[in-house]
Amino acid sequence: MSTLQVTQARVMKSEWTKLRTQPGALWSLLSAVILVVAFGILYSLLRVARPPHGAAAASFDPTSVSLAGVQLAQIAAGVLGVLLITSEYATGLIRTTLAAVPRRLPTLWGKAAVVTGAVVAVSVPAAVAVFLAGQAILGRQHLSVSFGEPGVARAVIGGALYLAVAALLGLALGALLRSTAGGIAALFGLLFAVPILVGFLPGSLADEIGKYLPGTAGLAVTTVHPDPATSLGPWTGFGVFCAYALLLLGAAAVRMRRGDA
């Protein structure tokens, strides 16, 4: 038997055990998959019933249509991240956890790794499946694209990765606020309320600032041809989204490391 010692890999294994034995977290994960698939199919059916004409037809993005569920699923993924840490603060379990890992940060990194892995593992197949289903539906009106066309594979996989980063964002907010309600409220605020507020600004300013908001920036990767006026480039936008998540995760690490558990 190997020696008794806390290692990052062991903490990760422990966090995986916790995730798979926490029904609330599994439900969030399942909800994310259902939202991606069900809403993508629903929206594809809706669009095929009312096909675009003229200018709308030119800018029609069949990939985005089939991935429409990502925008709803981001909340489920984010809630998963929040729950993973706030459930420990709510019950006091965090003290047991941190007494075993008094250096504390391996626990935060372990949760981050596990939630990223879990979300990617389910969201990539879900995104690919809903893309194929969506295109099959849109194909009835010859509106579909194939996976091999430029930017399409990136958008589909990007949609799945977007959900993983949304979960990280939730984890960071949960670790910062140590409250389930607070974490979920902050997540909603950041992803939905802030864009609405920015929308009240004068047109060009709203577009210019709006590009850099976490949700808008991150979703650029799910669009095959992002509009430079209102959106960053796909990977630039995704990078900005990741930067938000990492920044908040860093702040959470500082909060967790300092002071009392």
Partner: protein, 306 residues
């Protein structure tokens, strides 16, 4: 071994623990007593590396709690038996804890058997009774076979059978050479298990002693006397070392003299004695006596703040 040196912990303007210094040694059960709010849980959190001391130091088995490579193997703690995820099974709760440190799976089964939770190990821990939750907490504390065990109020809320089991478990751990540090706000819970005592009040050390010495020093036994001439006998007995007070029922309460001496003095003075009995100080009285000042001081300072 737990060594605490000039330990102080402040939360904002509140001082929870003030300049505590004591050592908890292996091989015995050491009780950690104090009224509610005395700073016991705060001290235990610092021993487990959860709270950062404002000043002073805590070492467990010679090193700060954060410095151990395998903390669960050094110090096992139970702070709050209800601190579990309610829908996770007891087995998985323990397994996740074990995995952080590379503790083998078979050890999880061992501790489950040791605390008698085998038949309910697969059930959600949130559905456990308090007694079962306490056992699960003990199992978690023992998981890493630690040299030091720290338990906050482990018998709180247990039934008679549970208390007996817990006492047996604590004594057994101490006999294995472990350092066992157990808090309580009730002296009677601790006195039958612990041999050493650390008493704190208002975050300060009041006593660091053996249970026997603690009881002896807190308040001496007194003697109840009824006689044909109470005022006369009282006058005969009183001296700088002896006090004699009249109880509500008219009996004389004498402290500082043994019953035999009192009987002899009364006989010599020709006073007929109707009752002569030694009143032992109860453990709870001894404890209340010693922590009285700390509690009063707290109430007074609370008034001042207003």
């Amino acid at each position: 071994m737990i060594e605490i040196h000039e330990l102080t912990k402040r939360y904002g303007p509140t001082t929870a623990v003030s300049d505590l210094t004591f050592t908890v040694r292996p091989g015995t059960v050491t009780g950690f007593l104090g009224p509610n709010g005395a700073g016991k849980s705060t001290t235990m959190r610092m021993i487990l590396g959860l709270d950062e001391p404002t000043s002073g130091s805590v070492t467990v088995n010679g090193r700060p709690p954060q410095a151990h490579a395998a903390p669960l193997h050094e110090v096992g703690g139970m702070l709050d038996p209800r601190a579990v995820h309610p829908s996770r099974s007891a087995y998985h709760h323990l397994l996740a804890l074990a995995q952080t440190t590379g503790i083998r799976r078979s050890r999880v089964d061992e501790v489950i058997d040791a605390v008698g939770l085998r038949s309910v190990a697969g059930r959600p821990a949130g559905k456990f009774s308090l007694g079962m939750a306490q056992r699960l907490g003990i199992a978690a504390a023992l998981l890493g076979d630690p040299a030091t065990v720290v338990l906050d109020e482990p018998v709180n809320g247990l039934d008679v059978e549970g208390i007996r089991w817990m006492r047996g478990m604590l004594t057994e751990l101490a006999s294995q050479g472990k350092t066992v540090f157990v808090s309580s706000h009730l002296m009677s819970e601790i006195a039958q298990t612990a041999t050493r005592l650390i008493v704190i009040g208002k975050g300060r050390l009041i006593a660091d002693t053996s249970v026997a010495d603690f009881i002896a020093s807190a308040a001496p036994a007194s003697v109840r006397v009824r006689s044909s001439d109470q005022p006369g006998l009282a006058a005969l007995l009183r001296s700088p070392d002896v006090t004699a007070t009249v109880a509500d029922d008219g009996a004389l309460l004498v402290s500082g003299l043994a019953a035999e001496r009192i009987g002899a003095i009364a006989a010599a003075a020709g006073i007929a004695v109707a009752e002569l009995s030694t009143v032992e100080t109860s453990l709870e009285d001894a404890f209340v006596d010693l922590t009285k000042d700390a509690v009063e001081y707290r109430a007074a300072s609370f008034e001042e703040e207003k």
